[in-house]
């Protein structure tokens, strides 16, 4: 009988080992807190926090990356302050006060908001910038940035007038001011790239094949027409502007994280975290499931 029990127990253990791993907190039966007669164990609290397991793991990895590559220094602090000023200006245009909007978002002070949100977001943007500087060659091959002057005209007549004026020597900015809808484009050069929303997709596609300096007119929706002029196609000649345009793309942010995660080798030992990580960064896992 004893032998039978031993064999059964060993078999159960063997089968239990066949399940995907799920990392558990230590001392899981310890009481996290009590409310009256009810006790909540660390395990119960950890189970309730399950939805945060993946984002918290990424957050820990991110902190490690930021500490290594983007330390907090005067430059970062300056950028954080600039961001803060911009956000305050934006909020001032609405009806809610800055203090109230901080309170609504759950922050006790401006300092807390800076620390918990802005510092991290500025550093993350800098990390993407670092990636783009490192992988600039591949980036421009993939996203093909072009620098163009563009204006939006309300109708074809205005678009034709703008083309003539520019071809006769008028600056693009002045032509945009005179014939264009300046709320759309001011006439200053913009950098458009594959998948960007800086200009209409058909304008970008046309610009890829256009000659530098040539003024081109394109029909938009309704009576709208666009007039553009390619300023530069060789992104190495406007590298800084190209990086600035590319760094705000979420696709490129994910690409940057995939790059750093691959560099730093990520192995995962928890199925919940594994599945989420695999969905977002499929090529960055150092310990793929053995098949």
């Amino acid at each position: 009988m004893k032998k039978l029990i031993t064999i059964s127990a060993a078999s159960i253990l063997l089968l239990a080992g066949c399940r995907d791993a799920s990392a558990q907190v230590s001392n899981k039966n310890e009481v996290a807190f009590k409310v009256g007669k009810n006790s909540i164990s660390k395990q119960q609290l950890a189970d309730s926090l399950a939805a945060s397991k993946y984002p918290s793991t990424i957050s820990i990895m991110m902190e490690s990356l930021l500490n290594e590559y983007i330390p907090i220094n005067d430059d970062i602090n300056k950028k954080v302050d600039e961001q803060l000023v911009k956000q305050k200006e934006r909020v001032a245009k609405g009806t809610t006060s800055w203090e109230q909007s901080l309170k609504n978002a759950g922050f006790t002070s401006e300092e807390a908001y800076k620390e918990q949100v802005l510092v991290s977001s500025v550093r993350q943007k800098e990390l993407v910038k670092k990636y783009l500087e490192t992988a600039f060659e591949q980036g421009i091959k993939k996203y093909k940035p072009v620098k163009i002057n563009i204006l939006e005209a309300a109708n074809e007549e205005k678009a034709n007038a703008a083309v003539s004026a520019i071809e006769s020597g008028k600056s693009f900015k002045d032509a945009a001011g005179e014939f264009g809808v300046t709320t759309s484009y001011s006439g200053d050069p913009v950098v458009a790239y594959e998948g960007s929303t800086a200009v209409l997709a058909q304008v970008y596609t046309s610009a890829l094949n256009a000659t530098v300096g040539k003024v081109v007119k394109i029909k938009g929706t309704g009576t709208t027409h666009y007039v553009y002029q390619v300023v530069e196609k060789d992104a190495t000649k406007f590298k800084e502007e190209a990086i600035k345009a590319l760094e705000s793309s979420t696709t490129i942010s994910t690409e940057a994280l995939t790059y750093f995660f691959t560099e730093k080798k990520v192995s995962i030992y928890d199925i919940e975290v594994y599945r989420n990580f695999e969905k977002n960064f499929p090529t960055a896992i150092a310990n793929p499931l053995s098949k």
């Binding site: 089968l15 066949c18 990392a23 807190f33 990580f277």
Partner: protein, 343 residues
Amino acid sequence: MKSMLKKYWYIGLITAILLVFLGLFVYNESSGKLRGKTVDGKEIVAMFNNQNISADQVYDKSKESTGTRVITMLLVKNMLDQAVPTTPEIKEKVQKSKTALVENYKAKNPKGYEQQIGDAIRELGFTKGFSDLEDYLTITVKNQILIENYIKENANTYFEKIDEQKGRTVSHILVKYPELTNEEKKGKTKEEIAKLQETKNAENESKMKAKMEEIDNALKSSSFADVAAKYSDDTATKSTKGSLGYITSKTSFVKEFLDAALALKKDEVSGWVKTTYGYHKIKADVVGKDELLKDEAVKAKIIETIIKQDNTLYKKAAAKAFEQYPVETSDKDVQKALDAIIK
């Protein structure tokens, strides 16, 4: 031994076959499975940049970042379980809320409503998502009861305002001004529309006066409620026989109407009161704290009004309940969540 083997050889063979099958089964089941890792007794979630990230580190991170909502839910749930025990009435209310909520989401998103609701409540720590909906709604229903109980326990503080604010239930009969059609309003400025409305009102004045006379005559022989049900142009209160429910000096009605309604004594009926909507005849149904609180439906309405007017009530009610069911913890994140609930 040899003789034993000779005699029971088939048992050995069966055992060997079973072991081979068990081995193959285990091999098959474990291939493609994620292996765990433990270092110094701590289970590891991930390794990054040659550093182990333990489940304990992830737990602490979760608590300090997004965990406040989850901890708050657990604190409140456990307090409510003791302060407001589940009754059949609560279960019924939960079912009603569930039906209404599900129908609402289903109408907007017929295929993905369960996922949508599940995702929203999973964020609050309800790990099973949609199937935890009843638990979530039980907390919202019990929270409401907690506040209502707090008001009843502190009746002197809260109900004394009824007389201060001239609390009463009122009914009205409306003879409405004619409405301008979209066609009449088309292409006109606000001022032009106002002028056109005035002209139309004047044109209809005699017709409206005739209806008001008819109502006055009807009131001589019928109750206010019956006349309201028959003659009132207010579609919203026609079905309640003109009843507008509980009002106070803080109710946001047009000034002329509110002034007239608050000046009435119990059962008194006003003269015709002119407002931007038309002409109203108003009756004060129940006046004064003692009379109002006798009616449970009115009492519920009064409590609803008090809750709307005082947004600190939940904090007060929760603080009192947590005094009775105190929280014991050494975890700073739990303490932080508790402070946010009651302070």
